[in-house]
């Protein structure tokens, strides 16, 4: 997994609430068994509209997606963060996320940032007002700031998840450091609940 430290990038505003994973990546793009090749499926239906944000030149090369509440609801497909990342996004800012999408994001090195509704509103206004609007997302200091530091917003993040992102640590490797404990647990469980095995 790649490390996430500081990201300075163009912000792409997606002004819709309850964006579900069937929109993020429609199922016809899920056929691959690899983790690549999903960028073309990202928001595939909506991208047919020339006015859709991803088709507007002012947001070209954007790496930070700005959204509304409950982003990523619906089907649990992990392809959703994969597609966003492959398209070029590394971070997403919204007032709230659907749980499964939120968790899948961390597991893939994609940072979901939760800010308040009013902070998110302000960022949408800034985006609309200034073509090429950028933000600096600093994970270490847990801040989202304008490039000239005219404002800075703090966000919360679980310390363990932060540690993993900052160090690019994969959960499987982390877990295997407890291999001894795991096998002890499994032996004990087998004795206690033999019907599972």
């Amino acid at each position: 997994m790649e490390k996430f430290t500081v990201l300075n990038g163009v912000v792409v505003p997606l002004d819709r609430a309850n964006v579900d994973t069937d929109q993020i990546i429609p199922k016809q793009y899920l056929a691959s068994i690899k983790r690549t090749g999903f960028a073309q499926g990202l928001f595939a239906e909506w991208r047919k509209d020339p006015q859709f944000v991803l088709n507007q030149s002012r947001y070209k090369g954007g790496t930070i997606l700005l959204g509304r509440k409950n982003f990523g609801c619906g089907s649990s497909r992990e392809h959703a963060p994969w597609a966003l990342m492959e398209y070029g996004f590394h971070c997403m800012i919204a007032p709230s996320f659907a749980d499964i999408f939120f968790t899948n994001s961390f597991k893939n090195g994609f940072l979901p940032v939760v800010l308040t509704e009013s902070e998110v509103d302000r960022l949408f206004h800034e985006c609309n007002a200034f073509p090429g609007f950028r933000l600096v997302v600093d994970l270490e200091s847990q801040t989202v700031a304008s490039t000239n530091q005219s404002f800075s917003m703090r966000f919360e993040i679980d310390p363990f998840r932060k540690y993993c992102l900052l160090n690019g640590l994969d959960e499987i490797g982390l877990t295997l450091r407890h291999a001894q404990k795991i096998s002890e647990f499994e032996a004990r469980r087998k004795a206690q609940h033999p019907w599972y095995f």
Binding site: R16, A17, N18, D20, D22, Q23, P26, K27, Q28, L30, E45, R68, K69, N70, C73, G74, S75, S76, E78, S96, A98, D99, I100, T103, N104, K107, D158, F160, E171, I172, L174, T175, H178, K181, I182, F185, R188, H193, P194, W195, Y196
Partner: protein
């Protein structure tokens, strides 16, 4: 399942889980949640209490027209698709208790559509009876041990939930979704809502976009909505009980001429065999339905079973997002009896008035 535990016994498991919404139906995954709760995990539950539905007949729970699907759609309509975010939802109360395992699975399956990681109903005699003698159920002394253990998997008396919501089951009618999210749902005797009456601007825009996508006008009676296709299937509603209920509605009748395709897709090979032993396949075929092999089919349209742009479907599945059943397709989520009745009538009907 994202809590990092300080309890050694559980420390290794949760870290490895990739959450998958379909797991909500899987016995083993539910078992894991229950185990964690039993071991003292707190703060991850919402409880629903459903008082007894008047006149509810537990011997024929689906014949009265209001089903487990309507109950869970009503819950999602109340708390929204983010209502259970970060939680496992425990469904409780006498109505839930009166449901068969099949009905409970329908409710728990759609806990995901309420934003939760899992849904659960505490172990009781219905659970134990359901498991007894099943292919992978423990046998002999192991069975007794397992049952004794399973009976401990209940919420403690006086447990504190993050949120408790109580619905009066007597007020729950057959439900139909009108929009592009499971929370966009109304009773069958209601009308398509009017976005102009919504004060929250973001919500209003969402409603307007959904109505445009769905090709619906505000204030249209739900029973005036005509359909093109019908899908009875999916992990939400394709168990034997669902098929029996749907078959009882269509028996001796014919699918309406405006319905281009009506599919019945059993939930598993076992369900298909059982249904065929009971002659349900004949009932469906005689009525003009296609009887298919088990699979996901038109729930998400990854195979050729899908909606064409603009087509409208009465579907027993769990998701009505844009394009879910095919690009441009329009999905209305309903119970199996409501889907069956819609197939015969060619439009939505109030199953409570079905003769």
């Amino acid at each position: 399942m994202f809590t990092v535990y300080d309890n050694d016994e559980m420390a290794d498991q949760p870290w490895l889980m990739r959450t998958y919404s379909g797991h909500s139906t899987a016995t083993k995954s539910n078992e894991l949640y229950r185990t964690n709760l039993a071991k003292g995990q707190t703060g991850l539950s919402i409880a629903f209490d459903l008082p007894t539905q008047t006149g509810y007949d537990p011997d024929h729970p689906l014949a009265r027209g209001v089903t487990a699907k309507d109950v869970v759609l009503a819950i999602i309509g109340r708390i929204g698709t983010a209502g259970g975010t970060g939680c496992a939802i425990e469904f409780a109360g006498s109505t839930i208790r009166s449901f068969s395992m099949e009905g409970r699975m329908t409710v728990c399956n759609m806990a995901i559509e309420a934003g939760a990681r899992a849904g659960m109903v505490a172990v009781d005699e219905v659970t134990i009876e359901y498991l007894k003698g099943r292919k992978f159920a423990p046998k002999g002394a192991e069975w007794d041990h397992a049952v004794a253990y399973w009976r401990t998997l209940k919420t403690d008396p006086g447990a504190k939930f993050d949120r408790e919501v109580t619905l009066d089951a007597r007020e729950i009618k057959p439900h139909v979704t009108w929009g592009t999210s499971p929370e966009m749902v109304v009773s069958v005797d209601d009308t398509v809502p009017d976005p102009d009456k919504e004060k929250d601007s973001l919500r209003r825009e969402g409603m307007e976009r959904a109505l445009q996508y769905m090709g619906l006008k505000p204030r249209t009676p739900i029973t005036d909505i005509r359909i093109d296709k019908v899908f009875i299937g999916s992990c939400t509603n394709s168990r034997i009980e669902d098929l029996r209920a749907a078959a009882s509605v269509v028996k001796g009748r014919r699918v309406a001429s405006n319905v281009k395709l009506a599919l019945v897709v059993p939930g598993s090979g076992l369900v298909k065999e059982q249904a065929e032993r009971e002659g349900l396949d004949r009932v469906f075929r005689d009525a003009g339905f296609e009887w298919r092999e088990p699979g996901c089919s038109m729930c998400l349209g990854m195979n050729p079973d899908r909606l064409s742009a603009g087509e409208r479907c009465a579907s027993t599945s769990n998701r009505n997002f844009e394009g879910r059943q095919g690009p441009g397709g329009r999905t209305h989520l309903v119970s199996p009896v409501m889907a069956a009745a819609a197939a015969i009538a060619g439009h939505f009907v109030d199953i409570r008035r079905w003769s």
